[in-house]
């Protein structure tokens, strides 16, 4: 009966091991913890490939289906990349605190894994909080840095208010249906009364914090700017995917009768998020803020998949997650590398990067092109598929809007490219040497972006398999 929980249990056991190791390790040797964490993640990723992890537990409230497992794998990869990017980072910034750092990351990971498997609101809530609270702490991990602390405050307050809303939403959902577990009661006819819609509204407002769609995006740039960059790379991807995971499962399984309502919300959120994200990214001079806003814009595109209200749309969103994961994390990791070399996140520190670090700038270019949706890298396919899904659902004008905004987005992406390749300003000319761990993680991201861009079929297949979990009962909504 615990088979479906294998991954979570393995993670917990591993975390316990790391915790113990942390206690006994010498201050200066704690760097090993990162490697242990990485190994742990790889092991779990290995386990997740096995078929035996599928199934349900706790009388159906916890489900480990292909959707959940796929997303968990994504979380694991994201966490792994973040850990890989952090190993040499911790030395400088967080002397002796590696244990806390990695454990908090893993706690958050555990929370995500639980949320995407939850079919019951209490479990969902617990998982949600387990995911969120470590993020607050990690955001403020750079204790002496006022920006980091301020970012932590912002994410904390926003998150807590969202939690309160979520709890209220759970209450109203409970009021409307008389249950909090949606796997048992398929026919949630009561949802059609105003109370059901109210529950939908308040729950969506609560989840909105996690996916950071407009108008829930406010905390994002500030927190990103302040927090340690490898963690931001993680924060910008994994919790967002988790948020979408919740939305997909909850909306498709529980709120199906309200589909026409929530697709309407989603399309509006998508349009507004795309507009605001792209427009606000335009004037940014700080790479992390720029990537933060561009990330917000990408949330808008992902929402299109949800808004299309079809399985096809969800599949394409899952594809988008993969593309976004590698491109965005890669970009943040490059930002981290540049930050370590120049001590600055300012765009100007990218001037002449192609001379100082050809590999790094090429990788950055690839990530930017991928984020901008340019052919032959994975981001293009992601955009294309999501547009295809939206066009299928009949949102041709939203697609047009999205496509045009892509061009606006290219403006700021190309600006970075310009700094790197075109501007010949006077400045530092010394060669930037990359730490081993960072170059590995950036290398993985680059390879993924390029190779998957050349052969997207595999990811499409994975996405289709993942969404097949929603299978049988859900007719395609039009």
């Amino acid at each position: 009966m615990f088979k479906p929980l294998t991954l979570e249990i393995a993670l917990t056991v591993g975390m316990f091991g790391i915790f113990l190791l942390d206690l006994f390790l010498d201050r200066h040797k704690k760097r090993v913890l990162g490697i242990f964490t990485l190994l742990l993640l790889i092991v779990i990723l290995g386990i997740s490939i096995s078929k035996s992890v599928y199934g349900t537990a706790f009388s159906g409230t916890f489900v480990s289906d292909s959707f959940a497992v796929t997303l968990k794998q994504l979380f694991l990869i994201a966490t792994g990349l973040a850990v890989l990017g952090s190993i040499s980072h911790t030395e400088k910034l967080l002397i002796g605190r590696e244990g806390e750092y990695y454990l908090l990351l893993l706690f958050s990971l555990l929370g995500m894994m639980i949320t995407v498997s939850a079919r019951e609101l209490l479990l969902l809530f617990v998982g949600f909080e387990l995911m969120s609270i470590p993020l607050y702490v990690l955001s403020g991990f750079d204790k002496g840095n006022p920006r980091s602390v301020e970012g932590a405050l912002k994410i904390f307050l926003f998150g807590t208010v969202s939690s309160a809303l979520l709890l209220l939403g759970i209450g109203i959902f409970f009021a409307a249906t008389g249950t909090t577990a949606w796997h048992t009661t398929r026919a949630l006819d009561e949802l059609n009364d105003p109370l059901g819609t109210l529950a939908l509204i308040i729950l969506l407002a609560g989840f909105g914090f996690k996916i950071a769609a407009f108008p829930f995006q406010f905390w994002v740039p500030d927190t990103y700017e302040g927090a340690p960059t490898p963690f931001v790379a993680f924060l910008s991807v994994a919790p967002k995917v988790a948020g979408f995971g919740i939305l997909f499962r909850f909306f498709f399984e529980a709120l199906e009768p309200l589909a026409s309502t929530w697709t309407l919300y989603a399309i509006w959120l998508a349009a507004l998020t795309m507009i605001v994200g792209n427009l606000l990214a335009l004037p940014q001079r700080n790479i992390k803020r720029l990537l933060a806003y561009s990330g917000i814009a990408h949330i808008g595109y992902m929402l299109l998949g949800l808004a299309s209200g079809s399985k096809f749309g969800l599949e394409m969103s899952v594809f988008y997650f993969v593309a976004y994961l590698f491109s965005n994390m890669g970009a943040f990791l490059v930002a981290e590398a540049v930050h370590r070399a120049t001590g600055s996140d300012d765009l100007d520190s990218y001037t002449r990067l192609y001379r100082r670090a050809p590999f790094l700038s090429l990788a950055m270019l690839v990530f930017l092109l991928s984020l901008g949706g340019i052919p032959f890298v994975i981001g293009f396919w992601a955009k294309l598929y999501i547009f295809l899904a939206a066009a299928e659902a009949g949102y041709i004008f939203i697609v047009l809007l999205g496509a045009l905004l892509t061009v606006v987005a290219l403006f700021y992406y190309l600006n970075v490219a310009r700094k790197m390749y075109i501007d010949e300003g006077s400045g530092e000319n010394s060669f930037i040497s990359l730490p081993f761990d960072l170059s590995i993680s950036i290398g993985i991201c680059t390879l993924a972006v390029v190779l998957l861009g050349l052969y997207p079929k595999g990811i499409v297949w994975i996405a289709i398999k993942a969404i097949s979990a929603f299978g049988q009962s859900n007719p395609i909504i039009h």
């Binding site: 912002k154 926003f158 407002a205 108008p215 829930f216 500030d222 026409s260 309407l264 919300y265």
Partner: protein, 639 residues
């Protein structure tokens, strides 16, 4: 056999052009380039003489532009007697001029000497091709090519700003005329579906008179440009900035008369449109008068000859317009020789004296006896004095005009004949008999220059005699006229010479007093009828003005709008940044905003999914272009 002869006419100059153009070392060897060019045109001349003897009817076609749904366009050659005569004229004059140029251009650097002959070969090919063309499109092609050669040769001394300017002016003005030609040609094609002259002649009667008139009027507009007819004649005097042999060949004997040849060639079409023909005649007459009048006051010997050319082409046009196409061609024939002769003689003088101004010349009769005789020959021929060739052709035209009942044009042309004799002998008396001593020591030109002039002199003298043969060759019945009229033009011309003698040799009258007396007219002539000023105004104010408007509009309005849009996006995004206040409590309003948004959406305040996806009408209904035909729009509405 005949088509081989034709190709023997056409191909050698082309080969010469191609070889000279492609092989720099050949072009830069003075003798090689010139020798090749002259040899090739010599071959052409021989072949054209043979053609004249054989008098063949050649038609030769190949497909040039394919078409499945419409009829394909052919390229080919078509010879009739008119074309054969014209080929002969072109080849002979070109040969003479090229030989003459050996001496005249001898001081050029090798590369520019080679360039000169390259252009000459191209010109010879284009002009011969023009004459032999079988289709209207092809005529247009060669028409433009000779225009190009004219441009290149006028601007041969490109480093002289006047030459560069004159070249460009010539191209612009003729090209302006060609706008008409092109449109007319396309219109004609549109109605008949063919460019071939032979087919056009067959199909023309089927066209409505108004349509055909329009086409021909437009085509004639092109001819006006090329043949320097009023009011498009302004480029020809300026074209004298080119080397003098070029003026002789292109701007006197051959290219400028292309318009006349075009009218003659298309006469089977023109004959259906008497209105257009009379328009041609009137334009010709007016041009003849204006050209001659303008020649009166010029001081540059080449410009005098240029205006004289304008005037003489006016004669040809008038003749053609009056229906005497053979007469026009006959005058063209004789004019080609004597005008070329005059130019070459003038060139000889210029070569010797290094000036164009007639008032800086004088007493040349002694220094350059051969040139004097030859110039006199040309002048007499031009004035129409028996037995020189001009007498026959000009007389014929005047009499034809009279007999056809075109009284006013007749008198205009008669008066022009007087003016012609007067201004020609004004030049003669001033330059050869005048008492002013030239600055440079004049000397006779070398034999390569005088020999062609002698040959042309002989032709000017003798070309008029075989008049009957000529007309018979063209299958044209000349009318016999044995009336008082036969002596009228001659009398008028002699009277003109006499007047010039009184004015400029005997100095019996002071020309300046006459000029003062007739001051309004003089003023008009000095200002060249203000045509140059008008064109300059059009160029400076209208064309440049519109271009300024367009350029400015494009840069600052159309593109400005683009910039304004991107700028406003940037400003918007800067403004939008303000929502990101940095204070956490403001951020939390976002959640409330979201809830309000959702409630609005639920209540249907904002457009719902259905309304977003509402069936949108056909975009054509929005564009509402008046261009779209009503039937189309209706059809779309039904669907």
């Amino acid at each position: 056999m005949n088509s081989i002869l034709l190709f023997l006419v056409l191909i050698p100059p082309f080969v010469s052009f191609a070889l000279n153009g492609l092989i720099p070392s050949l072009r830069k060897s003075k003798k090689g380039a010139a020798g090749l060019s002259i040899f090739s045109i010599f071959v052409s001349t021989l072949a054209s003489v043979l053609l004249l003897v054989e008098k063949p009817e050649v038609e030769f076609l190949f497909e040039w532009i394919p078409s499945k749904t419409l009829s394909p366009i052919h390229f080919g050659f078509f010879l009739d007697p008119f074309a054969v005569v014209m080929l002969f004229v072109v080849a002979v004059v070109a040969l003479m001029v090229q030989v003459y140029s050996l001496g005249y251009m001898s001081e050029e650097t090798p590369s520019s000497f080679g360039r000169y002959y390259t252009f000459h070969s191209l010109f010879a090919f284009s002009m011969l091709g023009f004459v032999a063309s079988s289709s209207l499109l092809q005529i247009y092609i060669f028409w433009e090519l000779v225009g190009l050669c004219s441009y290149l040769l006028i601007g041969f001394w490109y480093h002289r700003p006047e030459a560069a300017r004159a070249a460009i002016k010539a191209f612009w003005v003729t090209r302006f005329g060609d706008v008409g030609f092109a449109i007319g040609m396309v219109l004609l094609w549109g109605a008949t579906g063919t460019f071939l002259l032979s087919e056009l002649f067959v199909k023309a009667p089927e066209l409505s008179n108004a349509y055909l008139s329009l086409c021909l009027l437009l085509i004639f507009f092109g001819a006006m440009g090329k043949s320097a007819q009023f009011p498009l004649h302004v480029w020809l005097p300026d074209a004298m900035e080119g080397p003098t042999p070029v003026s002789a060949l292109i701007h006197a004997a051959t290219m400028v008369v292309a318009g006349v040849y075009l009218v003659v060639r298309l006469f089977p079409l023109f004959q259906f449109t008497p209105e257009i023909l009379s328009f041609v005649m009137w334009i010709g007459s007016i041009t003849a008068l204006i050209g001659a009048s303008l020649a009166l006051i010029q001081e540059d010997i080449k410009r005098i000859l240029a205006y004289s050319t304008v005037s003489q082409i006016g004669y040809m046009m008038a003749a053609a317009g009056a229906g005497g196409k053979a007469l026009g061609l006959f005058h063209l024939f004789t004019h080609a020789f004597f005008k070329a002769l005059l130019f070459l003689a003038a060139g000889s003088i210029i070569h010797a004296l290094r000036t164009n101004n007639i008032w800086e010349m004088g007493k040349l009769a002694k220094k350059m006896p051969q040139t004097t005789i030859l110039f006199l020959t040309g002048a007499l021929a031009l004035s129409g004095i028996f037995p020189f060739s001009g007498y026959f052709s000009k007389d014929e035209i005047l009499i034809w005009m009279h007999n056809q009942g075109f009284t006013v044009p007749f008198f205009i042309l008669l008066f022009t004949a007087f003016l012609t004799a007067f201004y020609m002998f004004r030049v003669f008396f001033v330059v050869f008999m005048g008492d002013k001593e030239a600055k440079e020591h004049g000397h006779e030109s070398p034999w390569v220059m005088t020999l062609p002039m002698w040959i042309l002199g002989l032709l000017s003298l003798g070309a008029g005699f075989p008049k009957e043969t000529f007309f018979k060759f063209l299958e044209y019945d000349s009318e016999s006229y044995h009336s008082y009229l036969a002596y009228l033009p001659l009398t008028v011309s002699i009277f003109g010479i006499g007047t010039a003698w009184l004015f400029y040799h005997k100095k019996y009258f002071k020309p300046s007093r006459i000029a003062e007396t007739l001051s309004p007219i003089t003023h008009v002539l000095v200002k060249k009828l203000w045509l140059d000023d008008i064109y300059l105004w059009v160029y400076r104010r209208v064309l440049n003005g519109i271009s300024f408007l367009c350029g400015w509009f494009d840069r600052y309005i159309v593109d400005g709008l683009v910039n304004a849009i991107s700028w406003s996006i940037r400003q918007t995004s800067r403004g939008l940044r303000e929502i990101q206040t940095g204070r956490i409590q403001d951020y939390l309003y976002g959640i409330i905003a979201a809830i309000i948004l959702f409630i609005w959406l639920t209540l249907g305040v904002l457009p719902t999914r259905d309304r977003i996806n509402e069936k949108i009408e056909n975009p054509v209904d929005y564009i509402q272009a008046p261009l779209i035909k009503d039937s189309k729009r209706d059809k779309n509405k039904h669907d």
